[in-house]
C-alpha cells in the first residue's frame, strides 16, 4: 500500500464536490423522510426503535453508493488507459484494488457518519451505546464489498456511463437487500442470495440478531452463518472480477 498515491487519489475524488455531496446527502434525506418522519418510528424492534433500523439501512445504502461510485470511477480510469501507466510501475493489480477499496472506505465513513449524526439528532434509539457503535462499524467496513462491485460492473460495461449503470443496479440490490421496504414471501427467498442481503443483515445484527421485520407481522430470521456466507461468497466473486478487470486494463483499449 502506497500512502502518497492513496492521498493524491483520495484528494482527487474529494474534489468532485457535487458527487460527494450527493453520496453523503441523499441517504440523510431519505432517512429524514422515511425514518424520523414516518409513523411508528418510535416503536421498538429488537434492541432499537424503527428509526434506528431505518438509520442503519440508510447508512448501509449511503456507504454502498460511496464505494460503488469510487469503484466504478476506478474502472473508468482503467478504460482511459491509466492502468497501462500504472502497469509500468511496481504496483500490482491487487495493490491497486486494495488502494481503491481503502479510498472508497474513507468516503463511505463520511456517508455513514452523516446518517448516524442525523439519527442522533432525531431520536433514533438503541438500548446501548455498543449497539450504536457496532452497527456503525459494520455498516461502514462491510461496504468495501461494493467498491469491488462497482469496479467489476463498470469494467464489464466499459464506458463512461458504466458508473451510472452500477449505481442503478445498486438501487435494485438495495431493494433486495431489505433496505427500502421489508420483503416477504418469494421475493425474500430470492433476495437471500443477492449481494447486499448479507451485508444488510450483518449491519442490522446488533439491533435485530437476524430477526426480520415483515410488513405482515410474519416473523422470520436469518442465522448469522448464512449472512456471513452470503457476504464472503459475493466478496470473493467481486474481488476476482476486479483483479481480472485491472489486468485487462493494461491492454490497449
Amino acid at each position: 500500500m502506497n500512502l502518497t498515491y492513496l492521498r493524491i487519489d483520495l484528494l482527487r475524488q474529494v474534489r468532485e464536490v457535487g458527487n460527494i455531496a450527493f453520496i453523503i446527502g441523499l441517504p440523510v434525506v431519505i432517512y429524514l423522510v422515511f425514518g424520523s418522519g414516518a409513523e411508528h418510528s418510535e416503536e421498538m424492534v429488537g434492541r432499537g426503535n424503527i428509526q434506528f433500523y431505518v438509520m442503519v439501512s440508510m447508512a448501509v445504502y449511503g456507504a454502498s453508493v460511496a464505494t460503488t461510485s469510487i469503484g466504478g470511477m476506478a474502472a473508468v480510469e482503467l478504460v482511459q488507459g491509466w492502468g497501462r501507466q500504472l502497469a509500468l510501475t511496481p504496483m500490482t493489480p491487487a495493490a491497486y484494488v486494495a488502494t481503491k477499496v481503502l479510498i472508497a472506505l474513507i468516503v463511505a465513513a463520511g456517508a455513514v457518519a452523516a446518517v448516524f449524526v442525523a439519527g442522533l439528532l432525531t431520536d433514533a434509539q438503541a438500548t446501548s451505546t455498543t449497539i450504536w457503535i457496532s452497527a456503525a462499524i459494520l455498516a461502514w467496513l462491510l461496504s468495501g464489498i461494493f467498491a469491488l462491485f462497482g469496479l467489476a460492473v463498470a469494467q464489464t460495461f466499459r464506458s463512461e456511463s458504466s458508473v451510472t449503470i452500477a449505481s442503478a443496479g445498486l438501487v435494485l440490490l438495495a431493494f433486495l437487500g431489505n433496505l427500502f421496504v421489508p420483503l416477504s414471501g418469494a421475493i425474500l427467498d430470492i433476495a437471500r442470495f443477492t449481494p447486499m442481503y448479507g451485508y444488510s443483515g450483518l449491519a442490522h445484527w446488533p439491533q435485530l440478531h437476524g430477526k426480520l421485520i415483515a410488513a405482515d407481522d410474519e416473523t422470520g430470521s436469518d442465522p448469522m452463518w448464512a449472512l456471513i456466507l452470503n457476504f464472503v461468497a459475493w466478496s470473493v466473486i467481486f474481488g476476482l472480477i476486479s483483479v481480472w478487470a485491472v489486468r485487462r486494463g493494461r491492454r490497449r483499449q
Partner: protein, 302 residues
C-alpha cells in the same frame, strides 16, 4: 533486450480467424544504442513493445529484458516507457501526477529533477486535462524518467504533435540518451528514424523486413519520382538520354507519360523541360509505403 521467435495472436471475433499481430520476431538490442522500430500502423510495433514491457503476454516466444523477464525489469525500474495510449488522469494536476507515480517507484527524491528535465516546472499546477498534446507527452516522458531506467521504450512518442513540438521533444530526448540509456522507439516517420536512430528495424505485417543501419534507408528517401508527357517525336531518343543521366535509377514509359525514378530530381526536371519538350511535369517523394515496398524488394533480392 533479446526477443526470440515472438508471436502474438489475438482471438478472432465472431468466429473469425485469430488475428496475428506479431508473426515470429527475433531481435537483439545491445546496451547503449538507439534503435527505431519503423513500420506502418498495425504492423505489430506496439504489440511487440507491449510484450517487452510485460503489459500483454506473448502467445509464444520469449522476451528477455536486461537479463530478466519484462515484468521484473519494470518492477526494478530498469526499464520504463512512454506509451502511445498510456492514459493520464485528466483531473489530476501535472505535479500530482508526477508525485503519485514517483511514490509508486519510491523515487520521491527525483521528482524535482525530473520535472525540470522534462520542462514541466511552469505546468506543475495545471490540470492534465488542460494541457496540450505536446505537454501531456512531456509529462509521460517525465513519468518514464522517474525510475532512472537503463532502457527507455517510446511508442510513437511524437504522434499527434506539430512539427515544433516534435523537434522540442526530440531535443529533450537527445539530452537524456546521451547519458548512456538504451532507447528503443517505434515510429512511422521515416525522418524520425533517420534523425535519431543509428539502427532501424523495419516491421511490416508482424515480421521484420529489414534490420540495418539507418544510413541505408536514407538513399531511399532521397529518391524522387518524376512523371511528364513527352512529345511523340524523338521519344525513344529522349528515353535513352534520360537513362544515361547520373542519378537516374529507372525510366519507364506508361502510355503517353514517362516515369523516372532517381535522386538528382532537379537536373532531370531541367533536362525534361528545356531539352526534351516535356509537359505536365510532376515530382513526388516516395511515400513511406513505397519506401517500405522498395526495401522489402531489396531484402528479397539480397
Amino acid at each position: 533486450m533479446r526477443i526470440s521467435a515472438l508471436r502474438k495472436e489475438y482471438p478472432g471475433r465472431g468466429g473469425h480467424q485469430p488475428v496475428v499481430a506479431v508473426d515470429g520476431i527475433d531481435v537483439e538490442i545491445a546496451e547503449g544504442g538507439i534503435v527505431a522500430f519503423l513500420g506502418p500502423n498495425g504492423a505489430g510495433k506496439t504489440t511487440t513493445l507491449d510484450i517487452a514491457l510485460g503489459l500483454v503476454p506473448a502467445t509464444s516466444g520469449t522476451v528477455e529484458v536486461l537479463g530478466t523477464t519484462p515484468r521484473r525489469a519494470v518492477v526494478s525500474g530498469k526499464v520504463s516507457a512512454v506509451l502511445q495510449t498510456g492514459g493520464l488522469l485528466r483531473d489530476l494536476s501535472v505535479g500530482e501526477t508526477v508525485r503519485a507515480v514517483a511514490a509508486l517507484h519510491h523515487a520521491d527524491a527525483r521528482v524535482d529533477d525530473v520535472v525540470r528535465r522534462a520542462g514541466l516546472e511552469r505546468l506543475a499546477d495545471r490540470k492534465v486535462g488542460k494541457c496540450s498534446g505536446g505537454e501531456q507527452q512531456r509529462l509521460r516522458f517525465a513519468l518514464a524518467l522517474l525510475p532512472d531506467p537503463q532502457l527507455l521504450i517510446l511508442d510513437e512518442p511524437t504522434a499527434g504533435m506539430d512539427a515544433g513540438a516534435r523537434r522540442e521533444f526530440w531535443d529533450t530526448m537527445h539530452a537524456e540518451t546521451s547519458q548512456g540509456r538504451t532507447v528503443v522507439f517505434a515510429t512511422h516517420y521515416l525522418e524520425e528514424a533517420q534523425a535519431y536512430a543509428p539502427r532501424t528495424i523495419l516491421i511490416v505485417r508482424g515480421r521484420i523486413r529489414a534490420d540495418s543501419p539507418t544510413d541505408q534507408l536514407r538513399a531511399m528517401v532521397g529518391e524522387r519520382t518524376l512523371t511528364a508527357n513527352l512529345p511523340e517525336d524523338g521519344r525513344d531518343e529522349a528515353l535513352t538520354r534520360l537513362r544515361a543521366m547520373p542519378g537516374v535509377r529507372d525510366v519507364r514509359l506508361e502510355g503517353e507519360r514517362v516515369r523516372i525514378e532517381g535522386s538528382a530530381s532537379d537536373d532531370i526536371a531541367l533536362v525534361l523541360l528545356s531539352e526534351l519538350g516535356a509537359r505536365d511535369l510532376e515530382v513526388s517523394a516516395p511515400s513511406l509505403e513505397s519506401a517500405f515496398f522498395a526495401l522489402t524488394e531489396e531484402g528479397r533480392d539480397a
